[in-house]
C-alpha cells in the first residue's frame, strides 16, 4: 500500500516537473498574426462575442443594405487572413494554423461561415479602420514579401477610427 502511494506521488512529482513538456503536447490555437495592432474590440470581448457581432451585421447587410465596415466579416478576414503554405501571396483564414480554423478546431466548434463566404480577403478591400498600409493608396492584396514589413509599418490602431 505504502509502495503504491509512493509510486503515485512519484509520478505526480514527475508530471509537475514536466509541465512544460505536457503543455507542448496540448494543441493550442495557432498565433496567426493579424495585420492591424488590435481588433475592433478587446480580445476578451471578441473571443466571447464575435459571433453575435457577425450575426447582427449579417441581417442588417442582407436585408437593409447597411454595409458598415467596423464589424463586417470582410474586415475580419482582411486583417486576420495569413499567407497560405501553397501560395504565400494568397492569404486565408481557413486551413491549419490559420486564424479562424485553428481556434475553432481547438474549441471543437464548427465554423460554417466559409461554406458561402470567401475565406480570402477581397482584392479591393482596403483596411478602412486603419491608415493605409503603404503610402501609396494600394488596394491590391498585400504580397507576402512585403506583408511583414507592411505589418510592422501599420502603426495605426485598428479601433482608432471609432
Amino acid at each position: 500500500m505504502g509502495a503504491t502511494l509512493l509510486a503515485v506521488f512519484a509520478s505526480l512529482a514527475a508530471a509537475s516537473d514536466n509541465d512544460e513538456e505536457r503543455a507542448s503536447r496540448i494543441p493550442r490555437p495557432a498565433e496567426a498574426k493579424p495585420l492591424g495592432d488590435h481588433c475592433v474590440e478587446d480580445t476578451e470581448y471578441m473571443k466571447r462575442n464575435h459571433m453575435k457581432l457577425i450575426l447582427h451585421e449579417r441581417t442588417l447587410t442582407v436585408h437593409e443594405g447597411i454595409r458598415t465596415k467596423k464589424y463586417s466579416l470582410k474586415n475580419c478576414i482582411y486583417c486576420h487572413a495569413t499567407p497560405t503554405k501553397e501560395n504565400p501571396a494568397v492569404r486565408s483564414v481557413l486551413g491549419d494554423g490559420h486564424f479562424c480554423q485553428s481556434c475553432h478546431a481547438y474549441n471543437a466548434v464548427k465554423v460554417d461561415c466559409f461554406e458561402c463566404h470567401s475565406s480570402k480577403p477581397s482584392r479591393e478591400a482596403p483596411l478602412p479602420l486603419a491608415r493605409p498600409l503603404s503610402t501609396s493608396a494600394s488596394d491590391s492584396l498585400p504580397q507576402q514579401a512585403s506583408l511583414n514589413q507592411k505589418t510592422a509599418q501599420a502603426t495605426t490602431q485598428v479601433g482608432a477610427a471609432k
Binding site: 442582407v62 437593409e64 443594405g65 470567401s118 477581397s122
Partner: protein
C-alpha cells in the same frame, strides 16, 4: 397698386423661384452622394432595368460573361449549373422576325418567389431588389418552381472556396440576379451587364431608378412604349423591355 403691395408680390415671386431652384439642388445632392453606409435602403428608390431588344445583338453574350465575372458564377456548361442571366432568341413564327434579349430575375413588385418561400429567405428589399438570404435558405426550390421567368438556380455542388469576397454563394442555396446589389450599395449606380453592354457599343441595357422622374430610365419609360414579360400576371416587374 401701393408700394407695399408691389414689394410683397415681388418678394413672394423671388421666394417661389428660389424654392424651385433649391428643390432640384437637394435632389441632385442625394443622387450624387447616395446614402451613407449606416443608412438602410428605402422605398424612395426602385432599381430596375430597361432592355431595348432592338439594340441587343445576336450572338453577343457580353452581359452574361460580365455577370459571371462580377458575381463569380462559372459559365453554364451543364443543365444544373447556376445561371443568373441568359440570352434568349425569340422568333415570330408568322413573320420569321427574330429578337434577342437577355433574361434574368425581373425584380417583381409582387414576387411569386417571395410568396411561396417557407422560411422567409426569399425577400424583396425596400428598394425593389429581390434577393435570397442564404443564411435562411433551406434549398427547397419552391421559389424556382414559382418563378415565371425561370430565373433562379440552385447551387448543387460545393464551391470549394471559389466565391468572390463581395458575393457569398453556397451549396444548397437558391440564387439569382441581384441587380449587382454589391455595386448598388457601393454607390456605383450601375450593373455589370449594363456596363458590359455599353462598352460593347450596343447600349441595350439601361440601369436606373424607376422612382426618380429625372433618371434616364424613367424618362425613357415615359417617352417610349415598353412591356413587361408576362404582364398578364400583374407582377409589376422592375425589368422592362422595349421592342418586343
Amino acid at each position: 397698386m401701393s408700394f407695399d403691395h408691389y414689394r410683397r408680390n415681388f418678394l413672394g415671386g423671388v421666394l417661389a423661384a428660389g424654392g424651385t431652384a433649391v428643390l432640384p439642388g437637394v435632389l441632385f445632392y442625394e443622387i450624387a452622394h447616395g446614402r451613407s453606409p449606416e443608412e438602410g435602403v428605402t422605398s424612395r428608390n426602385r432599381w430596375g432595368l430597361l432592355i431595348d431588344s432592338t439594340q441587343c445583338a445576336a450572338g453577343c453574350d457580353a452581359c452574361v460573361t460580365a455577370c459571371s465575372t462580377e458575381n463569380g458564377w462559372a459559365m453554364k456548361t451543364g443543365p444544373q449549373d447556376p445561371q443568373w442571366i441568359r440570352k434568349v432568341e425569340l422568333t415570330n413564327r408568322s413573320t420569321g422576325q427574330k429578337h434577342n434579349l437577355p433574361l434574368m430575375c425581373q425584380h417583381c413588385e409582387h414576387p411569386p418567389c417571395v410568396d411561396v418561400c417557407p422560411t422567409g429567405a426569399s425577400f424583396k428589399r425596400a428598394d425593389g431588389i429581390v434577393l435570397v438570404d442564404r443564411h435562411i435558405c433551406i434549398g427547397c426550390r419552391y421559389c424556382m418552381m414559382a418563378c415565371p421567368y425561370k430565373a433562379r438556380s440552385l447551387v448543387h455542388e460545393d464551391l470549394r472556396d471559389t466565391q468572390l469576397a463581395s458575393v457569398p454563394r453556397g451549396k444548397g442555396c437558391v440564387e439569382s440576379c441581384t441587380l449587382c446589389v454589391q455595386k448598388i450599395d457601393a454607390g456605383d449606380n450601375t450593373t455589370a451587364c449594363a456596363e458590359a453592354c455599353k462598352s460593347e457599343g450596343h447600349q441595350a441595357i439601361l440601369f436606373g431608378d424607376l422612382n426618380d422622374p429625372a433618371s434616364e430610365i424613367a424618362r425613357k419609360l415615359a417617352q417610349f412604349s415598353s412591356r413587361e414579360i408576362r404582364a398578364d400576371l400583374e407582377l409589376n416587374t422592375g425589368v422592362r423591355y422595349q421592342g418586343i
